[in-house]
Symmetry: C2
Subunit: 507 residues, 2 copies
């Protein structure tokens, strides 16, 4: 029987996945619930990850010609009402500003005053308010394509919230483009989906399935919604980014017209696409372990943390001199076009306490350096993608020469582990009873809530989709873009089907 | 008589300064009014300037150890009420969220529903909501100093709004720090003021006066407010950044306590400091001319724009080949640690139209390149800090070798011009009648609205300050930090005074 080590996070993933998630966030000091219902405070460690997401995605957007801009936080109720499906989708959960001041009631209490004639909605998404600007900006085909992105906060009055995954206020980017041709708009939608997939895989080490949503899962007002879907460690799916082809719906409701080359006026074709702080939730749930956060290097606030270990002043001087000698070289090492981000933790707390703090925060590489290492001109290296007891003593120079390839190896391992996990929990299921059992843990041999992703045939009928959802709380995550023609029978009704789709429980 | 050239902006500064300002924004395509009262849309050209402000200031904050975080948009009314002066200062102009959904009234119209038991204020500033987090984060002197910044949108329900200068919603950063010692907190307040001043002068080319606000002009709840003040071209002052020493006011109202080294609990000392999109207004009003925006290179979205000029296809090939030959070298030129930002404008519109567009947008250097330049291996260079007719033909190589020093020279010139303007419009005034005339344009020889900054003695009495404000709409902009002891008489009441302060009309 192997020794059972105490884990830093309690409960473990197996014991209570949902609680484990909250505890990882707490232990890594990423975020906390605020005093405002459903709104989170993103603490420096969590925000720094968001800054890295922003920086890298922003560059990818700019490379294809998108420009950033900023539009009002508030949307007049009348704008919101212009697109029928859109208002249906968002009216049930929005923050409404009705007044513009607080007035003393003469008894030391403040009452709301200055009622607005038209209430304002705090943006849950900005199609309608951005559309109003676009209709002013565009007059000719020469103004197109127009590709605009904004980094902003949005508000959706969610009833059940969970840090990063679902919060009343969250941070996101929303891109909005306008095109003269339908096909060009559709193409842009898939270009953005590919950017999201590339970003998720290369930076977040998150393998994703690219696909299209079914009609019932579309963005309110969209003609097509594309998405990337990832598998979390509890085998549920998490939608990590969406890209919508809006057709002419919003150009008609916002009056976005242009004069074409022939001099005739046409409604334009628009798209929108976004990712949010939810990506951080995906990152946590896909990679972290029972000792806390595990961060892919490309998105980590720090790549390497250095922890000096000493028991007396003499050793302290030795160890710190040794570290400060190679620190400049390390700080100047370049890593994927950026500088390595090094934390030299010389706080006056014990080495063991520091070590555990950085384990829980998920820093990819920890170096512990004590007098013995100084004597050997070596460093004691621990990698966060391995067990925390798995440490190597390597020569200082070997470390300095190879730190970038160690980080690349960590990135690769984290991605591969997640990919293998998804692959080994994705099954081709063709029998409804098997499908039912797969999603219905009904005996003690199935401690996980369900079996993973089912890749099964679906006839395309919304009724089958609904019935499965009602019976099993399982939805079609997407119709994958790379799905091939294959004759089969719908998993629910046994009618003819020509392709498989991904079914899963989801966040 | 010199020839009078038509200007790109009408009216000119002299004709109508306020209208000129609006027209510069329109002509440079920086921003527009939105359909939401008082809220602006920041268009890509304006937002790109904000991105440059963010990037550079953010780095300066991080260099002294500040970390970014994010706090909720909404503040419960009860939090807001905790600090009496603070709520007095902001309650009259705030957006209040009272409902959380819209419901169909059965007649096709949506009514507000889901009333909140406690209304939420859209943050006008975040001292109270951030204080609630800080009180959780801090327990010991070891947790201090805590230095946190957030980039966010804030809302103040202003009655009269003007793009960038005063809008209902605006973008800003707000830094919040907590200290164990009073003196350390005061020192931090001045460190931040110095960062703002350095940023304004080095990047925005905006000479500023650093000083302290009088009691009546302090931030609501602060013990001291420091500011930087700049002179606009209409000789009015514009407050461009503030840094507040909050004493223990907010730590008492938010219960921010720490255990000191002796093990006793104490209230902490806090500061807050911010700059906003108002800086863009300052930038426009300080430097621009009657042809449009003038951008200091260090903050410009593009440093150099290249405009190919040709009349036939043969020339087009020649000119484009010539440009594309040196473009890679130009794109790789480094400028203050960054890459040069080059716009190669090969749109299919006339060279003259392009040229005027870029003049109005304020790009520091414009290169016009036609067949004659190709033959001479030269470029036709125009600098935005000079008159638009003042162009030089210089050899291609001379340009490539000297482009950075040209930009530095432009930056230097723009700063110096603004500094000279301020100096030549600042007067030591010691006589009330002179002071009165200075601020009261009462004959045709004084077309400007007033004379500029008056550097005059003030006894320190709030009544003199008020009386001057009531009579002349002139306020004390600040008590400059570098003011020297000097015996004199108060400009208003003739009582003894020991130092001069800056009086001005202001935005």
């Amino acid at each position: 029987m192997s020794k059972k080590y105490k884990t830093a996070i309690s409960p473990t993933r197996e014991e209570d996945y949902s609680q484990w998630y909250q505890q990882v966030i707490k232990a890594s000091d990423m975020a906390e619930n605020s005093d405002v219902r459903g709104c989170m405070v993103i603490k420096p460690w969590g925000y720094s990850i968001w800054e890295n997401i922003q920086k890298n995605l922003d560059q990818m957007f700019k490379e294809i010609g998108c420009k950033n801009a900023y539009f009002p936080l508030f949307i007049p109720k009348s704008f919101f009402e212009k697109e029928a499906e859109h208002v249906d989708g968002f009216a049930k959960e929005c923050a409404v500003v009705t007044h513009t001041k607080l007035e003393d009631d003469g008894q030391g209490s403040l009452n709301v005053a200055g009622e607005l004639t038209e209430p304002l909605i705090v943006r849950p998404t900005s199609e309608t308010i951005i559309g109003a600007s676009f209709s002013r900006w565009i007059s000719s085909y020469r103004d197109l394509p127009l590709m605009i992105n904004q980094w902003a906060n949005v508000v959706r009055w969610e009833l059940r919230t969970r840090l990063f995954l679902r919060t009343t206020e969250f941070l996101w980017q929303e891109g909005h483009t306008v095109h003269s041709e339908e096909q060009e708009a559709i193409k842009l939608t898939t270009i953005m989906l590919n950017i999201y997939a590339k970003f998720a895989e290369d930076y977040l080490a998150l393998p994703v399935i690219k696909g299209e949503k079914t009609v019932s899962e579309r963005f309110p007002g969209a003609l097509r919604t594309y998405c990337i879907e990832a598998m979390m460690q509890d085998k549920k799916a998490l939608q990590s980014g969406t890209s919508h082809f809006l057709g002419q719906n919003f150009s008609k409701s916002s009056n976005i017209k242009f004069q074409n080359k022939e001099g005739c006026e046409e409604y334009a074709w628009t798209t929108s696409w976004g990712v949010s702080t939810r990506l951080i939730g995906a990152l946590i749930m896909a990679h972290s372990d029972d000792d806390g956060l595990v961060l892919p290097p490309r998105i980590a606030p720090n790549h390497v943390v250095i922890i000096p270990i000493f028991r007396n002043e003499e050793d302290e001087i030795k160890v710190k001199t040794f570290i400060e000698d190679f620190l400049p070289q390390l700080n100047n090492t370049s890593y994927h076009g950026d500088k390595l981000r090094i934390e030299y933790d010389d706080r006056e707390i014990s080495g063991g306490e520091k070590n555990w703090q950085w384990i829980k925060k998920g820093v990819p590489i920890r170096l512990e350096i004590g007098p013995r290492d100084v004597a050997n001109q070596s460093v004691f290296m621990a990698r966060r993608d391995k067990a925390h007891r798995d440490k190597d003593s390597i020569s200082r120079n070997e470390f300095l020469n190879n730190v970038v390839s160690f980080l690349d190896d960590i990135q690769f391992n984290i991605f591969n582990r997640a990919l293998k996990f998804r692959e080994s929990n994705t099954f081709l299921l063709d029998d409804y009873n098997e499908f039912y059992d797969f999603f219905t843990p009904n005996n003690i041999d199935k401690p996980m809530i369900h079996g993973g992703f089912a890749y099964s045939h679906w006839c395309g009928d919304i009724k089958c989709e609904e019935e499965i959802k009602n019976r099993l709380k399982v939805t079609i995550r997407c119709i994958p873009l790379n799905s091939k023609y294959e004759e089969g029978k719908c998993i629910f009704c046994s009618s003819n089907s020509t392709k498989r789709v991904y079914f899963a429980k989801n966040y």
